[in-house]
């Protein structure tokens, strides 16, 4: 056997090298890890039993939510009869998924308006708390994607859904949330938030559960198909290009007027100043020919 295997390929030469074993070990680890990730159960709650989930949720609830909502979600009233946190019996998993998933809960301070903020809990924790609250009393469940997506429909049905969704949107939603979902003012500092880029699941849950001051649009009010149509319309609004140029926030004539004055008049007055300004002067004298 020759000492230097020059005729073999470059990789071959390294096969018996000292690092080869290490490399094989690493590859093996990667492979098994990857296979595990692909084939292992996706979420803890699909494998853990419902009872375990409810128990986990209960523990989270006691620590984070019971101060305002009571140890059994029965709600807490202050001495003056004001409400610190409403009863959660019967609000259903959908309400928890919405409130906690959008970061509204836990609230920074009690009040009517719960602004959306960075969620405090992970998806698993949210699901656990949702299961616990669902166990308190029957209420709306977290919707399935098929509930709010028009994926499975034919092209014609999709278009019909979007058109109908638009009419429902304009009748029920734009009064508070504005024609393009940019939000609107409500009394005493409240507001209906921007909904144009909210996840479809949360839109569905908000319609179903009527969070904070928002009215309910229960399934007896807007059927699940109608909710799906509204969501489809919102998505189409989001996916549409701005046909006429930048949208300036989608706030209507007030923003347009501001731009007319600041941009339009500003530029034109700037031009006027330039036109009438004295041009550069020279020190030389003109030699009359």
């Amino acid at each position: 056997m020759r000492f230097l295997n020059r005729s073999a390929g470059r990789i071959s030469r390294h096969r018996r090298g000292p690092l080869a074993g290490l490399l094989v070990l690493l590859l093996g680890l990667l492979l098994t890890g990857g296979l595990y990730t692909v084939f292992a159960p996706a979420q803890a709650d699909t494998t853990a039993s419902n009872e375990e989930l409810v128990q986990e949720g209960r523990e989270l609830f006691l620590v984070n939510c019971s101060f305002c909502h009571g140890q059994n979600g029965e709600g807490v009233r202050t001495v003056d009869g004001n409400q610190l946190g409403p009863s959660l019996v019967g609000v259903g998993a959908a309400a928890v998924d919405f409130q906690v998933g959008t970061g509204r809960m836990p609230m920074a301070q009690p009040g009517q308006q719960a602004p959306r903020k960075k969620p405090t809990f992970s998806d698993e924790e949210t699901a656990a708390m949702a299961a616990f609250v669902a166990s308190l009393g029957p209420g709306p469940a977290i919707p399935d994607e098929s509930d709010y997506s028009i994926e499975g429909l034919s092209a014609e049905e999709r278009e019909e859904a979007i058109v109908r969704g638009g009419q429902i949107f304009l009748t029920n939603c734009t009064a508070c949330h504005n024609f393009t979902g940019s939000g609107g003012a409500m009394p005493r500092g409240g507001y209906a938030p921007r909904i144009l880029d909210v996840e479809p699941r949360y839109v569905y849950e908000a319609l179903l559960t009527g969070p904070q001051s928002m009215p309910n649009f229960s399934n007896g009010n807007l059927t699940p198909e109608e909710k799906r149509d509204v969501i489809a319309y919102l998505e189409s609004l989001r996916d549409d290009p701005n046909y006429g140029g930048f949208g300036m926030g989608g706030l209507g004539p007030v923003a347009e007027g501001m731009f007319a004055w600041i941009v339009g008049l500003g530029i034109l007055v700037g031009f006027a100043v330039w036109i009438a300004a004295h041009s550069t002067r020279s020190k030389k004298e003109k030699v009359e020919a």
């Binding site: 029920n172 009394p187 209906a192």
Partner: protein
């Protein structure tokens, strides 16, 4: 430092238009100074080239405009650029360039190359000269004298009378058919006894148990969705809009304990479900901004706020009257129906409105 207030206010009548040039006398127009383009031939040529280049750029933009028009699509398939509609943006920017470059070029021409000596022109008084005035007055007088209008009151007055009778009544009368007289149209809506309350857009009737506490339904009278044997709508077009503009309602369900019934209105609600006119009593915008926790509904137009738990009385804003309430009942199949039309006119106030 001494105050000059009141010191220099001589109490006399103003002069005849001469400006008091005290205390500094007019130094006259400053001497003309030249621009670089006037004295330096190179600067002049450079300015000329600059201006010509602007006009050239404008032409380039025009070409871009024409190209964009024919290549960028709109309609079914819209070309986009950066999330914006490409056709509009490209046409707009190229048109803007084409126009702006011409404008800037012309202005630069005026500023850099056209003669910029300041000139003086004398003003003339706005009024005519006394001679002109006299002559005109004399001419007018002669004319009027010759017409005899001063000396012939019969002719004059009868002409004025005829003109007056013609000018005022004829155009006014011709406009009579602009529209029908109001009559009592504003006092009624399409609602009637036993008419079902249906969901807007879909037209489906509503049962009380469909609604939960906190629900807000935008609703209409069933008449709006009725069709004839061929499936054609019975109320459509103008009639539909006129009907909707007075008949649109909102249904809200709240805890029965929260409701403060109006006088004689105890049986107008069904299981805590109340029905109110959707048309604001201020100037008629439709309202459905409902806060379920306070039971207040807000109008987006001028922020009138009504308390739906208390017969929709006004709690804030420029509205003067509560929203009319539609009395509800349940029909034999369990659907919500109206007991009758509204008991007062819907919408904005007007002069003949019964004072209630």
């Amino acid at each position: 430092m001494t105050s000059h207030e009141g010191e220099n206010l001589p109490e006399k009548r103003p002069g005849s238009g001469e400006l008091t040039a005290d205390p500094v006398s007019d130094p006259g127009l400053p001497a003309h100074t030249w621009r670089p383009t006037d004295v330096d031939a190179r600067a002049e040529k450079r300015a000329e080239r600059q201006i010509a280049a602007m006009f050239g750029l404008s032409a380039v933009c025009t070409v871009l405009f024409v190209v964009s028009y024919f290549t960028l699509e709109i309609g079914e398939v819209t070309t986009t650029i950066g999330g914006l509609g490409a056709s509009t943006v490209a046409l707009g920017l190229s048109l803007a360039g084409a126009l702006l470059f011409i404008g800037i070029g012309i202005i630069q021409w005026a500023r850099k190359l056209m003669a910029d000596h300041e000139m003086i022109e004398m003003r003339h008084p706005a009024s005519s000269s006394p001679e002109d005035r006299e002559a005109t007055v004399a001419a007018l007088n002669t004319g009027i004298e010759e017409s005899g209008i001063g000396r012939r009151p019969l002719v004059r007055n009868s002409l004025l009378g005829a003109l007056g009778v013609l000018a005022l009544p004829v155009p006014v009368v011709l406009l009579r058919d602009l529209g029908p007289l109001p009559g009592d149209a504003l006092t009624k809506t399409i609602w009637s006894e036993g008419m079902r309350v249906v969901r807007d857009v879909t037209g489906t009737p509503i049962r009380a148990q469909d609604l939960q506490v906190g629900d807000l339904v935008n609703a209409e009278p069933a008449a709006i969705f009725e069709t004839d044997e061929e499936g054609e709508p019975l109320v459509e077009g103008v009639e539909l809009h006129v009907a909707k503009s007075k008949a649109a309602v909102v249904l809200v369900r709240m805890e029965p304990d929260d409701i403060v019934h109006g006088e004689g209105r105890e049986d107008w609600a069904v299981d805590g479900i109340l029905c109110y006119s959707k048309i604001c009593t201020h100037v008629g915008c439709p309202i459905s901004l409902y806060e379920r926790t306070t039971h207040h509904v807000l109008c987006p137009c001028h922020q009138s706020t009504f308390d739906l738990a208390d017969s929709a009385r006004v709690v804030f804003g420029p509205a003067a009257r509560p929203l009319p309430q539609l009395p509800l009942a349940v029909d034999s199949e369990g659907y919500l129906v109206a007991q009758s039309d509204f008991d007062e006119p819907v919408g904005p106030s007007y002069w003949e409105r019964d004072s209630r």
